[in-house]
Amino acid sequence: MIEYIGENLLAGQIGNFLIFLSFVASLLSVVFYYNSSELSLEINSWKRGGRFFFRLHSFSMAGLIGILFYLIYTHAFEYYYIWRHSSSDMSMKYIISSFWEGQEGSTMLWAFWNIVLGNILIFTTKKWEGSVMTIYATVQVFLSAMLLGIFPFDIQIGSNPFVLLREHADMFNLPFVSNPNYLGFVEGNGLNPLLQNYWMTIHPPTVFFGFATTLIPFAYALSALWKKRYQEWIKPALPWTFFGIGILGLGILMGGAWAYEALSFGGFWAWDPVENSSLVPWLVLVGAGHLMLINRNKMKSIFSAFALALFSFLLVVYSTYLTKSGILGETSVHSFADGLPGQLIIFLLFYLLIALYFLFKNGGQFLKKSEEDAFWSREFWMFLGALVLVISAFQITLSTSIPVINALFGTTLAPPAKPIEHYNSWQIPLTILVTLFVAISQYLKYKKTEVVPFFKKITPSFIISFAAAIIIAVLLEIRDVFLITLLFTSLFAVLANLDYLIRILKGNVKKGGSAIAHVGFGMVILGSVLSAGNKKIISKNRTQVNINFENNKDANNENVMLLRNDTVLMDSYYVTYTQRRVDGKHVYFDMDYLKVNEQGRYQKEFSLSPFVQLNEQMGNVPEPDTKHFLDKDIFTHITYADLENLDSTAQDTYREPDTLNLKIGDSLFTSNSIIKLANFERSINKEKLNLQEEDIALGVKITAKTLEGKYYEARPIMVIRGNSIFSISSEIEALGLEFGFAGIDPDTGKLKVLLAEKNKNSGDFVIMQAIVFPYINVLWIGIIVMVLGSLLAAWNRMMSGKSTN
């Protein structure tokens, strides 16, 4: 038995105890709450027991989270999770991110939000407490089980975050395990460089918070079907639904901001499977919220309200399955390979079967009985809108699920070769419909609308947005018919809802939650059309010589090569790559954006420093740098850079010289100057050069002129001693040039000149990409407006729910 030095085993033991406790407590909470699930305000001992065990579960889960944080904070690399996801040189914000980089941590994050919301629901659900909390507690059973890490009958149940490094399956027979002092030299593996970004500190908790909120409408809807109270659930569930729409929407778009700032997608949305699988539950949640609204007073389409309220959460679980089971494998940039597929499938099927059972057994009666809504009624168009959202969600889910389809049916389909085109071809037309419904439905009244006043009210915003769309399309040279239509409908959605807020609600912001949220949604779409639909790759003006277009029939000119100090015209800017700086793990490439001023001189407008994050273990990661203007962003990204010879000695080393045959008077370009063979120099001071008396020495004067007009000279000398010829080289240090004079060709009379350049001269180039995103701020502002509007709507629903009780 080896006595290991410096291990903190107590924390892990407490952690393991808490995992077990949280699992058992959630199980007991289910049992107790189940026995008090009848809708009643009475607080009996079953209900008290349910509360007690849910709280006990909450405390142990919170303690568990605290311990894992503490271990990451103290760099306790004796634990595999800590070693795997963190390192001792990380700052606080990345310590937080490394908490949820792994599967166990992200499960705990999800469970954390569930306990936060669950403890609020204990107080707010009133008579629904028993049934809603039964469902809540079952979810916590599943989540706690995912942390157990036990192996009954050789089946793995859960993955334990407190497994020791030396006991981990990948490690236990490695040599360090037998070294009692291994902690003295073991260093953590660190956080994936892609995740070392501040968005990654705030995006995952927001998304998981959003995911957790979808459980509330699910739990209410399922309780209602279970207890056959088909309408009462809507009022208490509505504020939470709109709250969830706001939070999950914010979280998803934060992910987009991360992709835009830190990834090389060249945009904020790429229809990546992981992005898709968080967008789909949101779309369904939005549909659910709207259907719940139209059914809160009259149950005309209650079946679909139930279905969407249930499916939003089911799709969250499905999304978890997609991202954590590793099934996305080759199709996604960020899927977590290690997984517990079986357990996740059981998790999903459990809720899917229960939901479908109750939906059809008790809710099926409403499927046939549904009454038709009047054509000119708000509920009809809201219903259509929700339907379009469902179709949109269906299409995205279908294409994202290709690996699942392969697994189920044994097909060999690969994901779409051109995903952006594929998804856009469906989603742009659907978004046109959604924005159109968003624009008109506020003006429609419930039940029946007078047609003429409706058209009168909506005409001004229709005309203005139609005209504006045409003007913008002409100015920005948007040619695509679908994009122009979407430009119009999204503008229409923004203006119509603004108009509604100002003229109809008379600026009453309190009541205007939905109008504000719709303005924001319209702006998000408008911003996407303007920026992504109209992004302009400016790094294609190729002013260098020697461009070879052969074999390049699809010549795509997205990348441009920049030599150091080279200036290239891009759109309205001249761009110079000025220097490369190494700062710790980051290699920055400074790009000056210049404009020509009135005097005809270059003038620096701004600098950007895209960088490459060096990471030995996980591969180097380039990160873009973006200049934000009010009306556009300029995005600069390194697609390729030579990252060898980074240290200064290698930089200062001369490469192998080239032999040039030149006459006096000839000139040529080096990487940084024009050189010219000026004249011979016959009078050589042999003594100073330690040459012998009988040596024959001949010098040549070479002048070098830089592009900035600086002037340098070099004087290499050829020496003939007996039968041999050698050269005394001469260096221009400022330019990193070295010249030698190796002889004269007797036939042509040309001089053999040796020219060597330092590594840092022409070796220093980058391939970069620059993209202009016009009016992307419309998108970012839209997100904020939409989220605020949703939260305001949630608040209003909560208040009106209280006043009617």
Binding site: D170, L413, P416, A555, F765
Partner: protein, 137 residues
């Protein structure tokens, strides 16, 4: 005919359309033999970089052309041309997934997805890092 019936029919039609488009837009996993038999058709090929042969990237002359030799899972070797910059650390890749079609004698890739082994683990269960490069035309 009731409104709800019309809407129902439209929805079903759209759903079928979505299924068809997913299937038709989906690329197919294949080997190079298949790609050679169907020039111009989009395929997704999984294989390995042949590190013995030249990986050619000369950004000085063309920053958007990069070529290499790849061996698919059935051992067929094929020259691949990618119209874009060479992904960082390409030489380190352990597995390469390319999407594209055979054009003339070469396989023209629109997209490269590569997986690099991490250096810290010597077990075969090496963690994979994925890098995507895409050419947009």
């Amino acid at each position: 005919m009731k409104k709800s019936h019309i809407i129902g029919i439209i929805v079903i039609a759209i759903a079928i359309g979505a299924i068809i488009s997913t299937v038709s837009d989906a690329a197919t996993y294949a080997d190079f033999g298949m790609a050679i038999k169907n020039p111009g058709k989009q395929f997704q090929v999984v294989g390995q970089l042949n590190k013995e042969k030249d990986i050619i990237y000369a950004p000085e002359s063309n920053a958007n052309e990069f070529s290499f030799f790849m061996v698919d899972k059935n051992g067929n070797e094929q020259k691949v041309i990618f119209n874009g910059a060479k992904p960082q650390d390409f030489e380190r890749s352990e597995q390469v997934v390319i999407t594209g079609s055979l054009e003339g004698e070469n396989f023209l890739a629109d997209k490269i997805l590569m997986k690099c082994p991490s250096k810290y683990q010597d077990g075969e269960a090496g963690e994979l890092t994925e890098i995507t490069a895409e050419s947009k035309s």
